[in-house]
Each structure stands twice: as C-alpha cells, then as structure tokens.
C-alpha cells in the first residue's frame, strides 16, 4: 500500500509548527537556529512529497537548492554568533537588544 501524499503534508505541517514554536519561544541563539533548520526541513519534505505526487523533478531540484542555501545560512549565522559572543559574552537573544525599538 502506498502512503498518500496528504500524510506527508500533515507530517511536514507538524514539523514546521514545532520549529516555529521553538524559534518564537527559545532564547538561546543556537536553539533558535536549530528550530529554523527544522522548519526548512519541513518545507523540503513538502516539496519532495509534491514532486512525488506530480512525477516531476523540479521539486527535488528546489530541495537541492534549499539544502545549499541552508548550508550557507548555517555557516554565516554561526560565524555571526561567534562575533556577537566575542563582544557581549552571551548569545541570549533577549540581551541582544541594541537594535530594538
């Protein structure tokens, strides 16, 4: 029996919601980053599920590009965390409020 596409979509929705809740509530910069990776992965799952549904390659290619962008984003983001940590000795996002208001 083949798993219907909607099950994959529901799973992706659940993963995305969990990641969104994490990104909104956590204060540790690293954990927020992990939550963003989670959301990217949920989007990837959706794309692959639709690629399977329509028998198309385009969805899989988009996932390929998303993976590359995620790698670049992780590298630059973590480098920024190192730079911020050097200045402030913390990456608690509640204390990084220089540009707030």
């Amino acid at each position: 029996v083949i798993v219907p596409t909607s099950w994959y979509l529901l799973l992706a929705a659940a993963l995305f919601a969990i990641g969104a809740a994490g990104a909104l509530t956590r204060r540790n910069g690293i954990t927020i980053f992990l939550s963003i990776e989670l959301m990217l992965n949920a989007a990837n799952l959706t794309l692959v599920a639709y690629a399977r549904q329509w028998g198309e390659h385009t969805g899989q290619l988009v996932v390929f590009f998303v993976l590359a962008v995620a790698a670049a984003e992780a590298a630059v983001g973590l480098a920024l965390f190192i730079a911020v940590f050097r200045q402030r000795r913390t990456i608690d996002v509640n204390r990084l409020n220089l540009m707030r208001w």
Binding site: L10, A20, V48, L67, A70
Partner: protein, 186 residues
C-alpha cells in the same frame, strides 16, 4: 509495509523535533536534530528521492550539525539556559503554532488528491535529475555556487579575531554585559 515504515519514522521525526525545541541543553537539541534529519531522509527514500536522502545525511547530519556542535563547544554553551519564560510570549507562540498547524491540516483535508501510482524507474533515476540540473537549471546552480563562495568568505571575515588596535572592532565591553544583566532582572 510502506505504511509501517512511514509511521515509525514519522513518529520518530515528530518526537525528536519536540526534543529539539524543548530540551534545555543545546548539545542534546543538536543531537536530537540529527535523529529528525535522519527520519526525514528515510521519508525521502520512501518518496523516491534517494539522492536527496543521501545529500540530507551528508550535508545536514554530516556538515551542518558538526558545525553547530563545534560552535557550541567553542562558545562553551553546554550549560542549559535558565528558563525564565515570559509567560505571554510562550502561550502566544504555542497558540500561533497550533493555529498555523490547524489551518494547514484543514487545507490538506479539504483538497482532494489523486491516488499515487507505484514509483517508476524514471522517477527515481538520478540521470533525469542531473540532466535537468545541468541544462534547464544551470543558472541557479551557478548562482548557488557563487552564494556558497560568498558565505565562506563572509563567515571567515565575521568569525575572525579582530587584529590588535583595530578601530572598527573594539575589544569586548564587559561593563555592558553587566549592565544588561542588571536590566534583565528588574
């Protein structure tokens, strides 16, 4: 059989995703993310995308997670954050996530779908994927290469230790941290 595999790895993905966002220690969160990524890779295989599953494990679990762990160790963040959630923020975020997921579930349940046929060799073939990537999507491919180069340079510059006497990047201000910590607890 396929449904059984889907159920096991979907449950594993959701549980480990919850651990990622809920665990106090960033190291455990990162290790839990590996489990999620691996489960999603298995689902990619079920969906007929073995190449993406391999990429997912190589790039995410292999490279990105190692980078995360490296930074956690480098910044000495193993100790857990002391959790003083501002309650309204937590509840609003939970509400937002639940409403969002509910809307997606509603949307998915409203749309009809064609039943899937079995996977064909053409759908799984890496050759078709590569042909499309290097012909029709060649320009985005090259741009991604450029993006990765820019990211490497940017990350190196951002994480570099500022040279002595560099006006643009003053030494860390310990006084500021102390002051903001005072502000943090009223």
């Amino acid at each position: 059989m396929e449904i059984l595999i889907f159920a096991i790895f979907a449950a594993l993905a959701v549980v480990s995703a919850i651990v990622v966002v809920a665990h106090r220690s960033p190291v455990y969160s990162t290790m839990s993310l590996v489990v999620t990524l691996f489960s999603v890779a298995v689902l990619f295989v079920l969906l007929g995308a073995p190449f993406l599953a391999a990429l997912q494990i190589l790039i995410y679990a292999g490279a990105i997670v190692v980078l995360f762990l490296f930074v956690i160790m480098l910044l000495n963040l193993q100790k857990s954050e002391n959790r003083t959630f501002t309650s309204p923020q937590l509840w609003m975020a939970m509400l937002g996530a639940v409403v969002f997921a509910g809307m997606l579930v509603l949307l998915v349940s409203q749309t009809g779908e064609r039943p899937l046929g079995p996977l064909t060799a053409e759908q799984v073939s890496l050759e078709n994927l590569a042909t499309a990537l290097f012909s029709r999507y060649l320009l985005p491919f090259e741009i991604v290469g450029l993006l990765l180069l820019a990211a490497v340079i940017g990350a190196t510059v951002a994480a570099r230790k500022p040279p002595e006497g560099d006006e643009a990047s003053p030494p860390p201000r310990e006084d500021y941290v102390v002051e903001s910590q005072k502000e943090a607890r009223p």
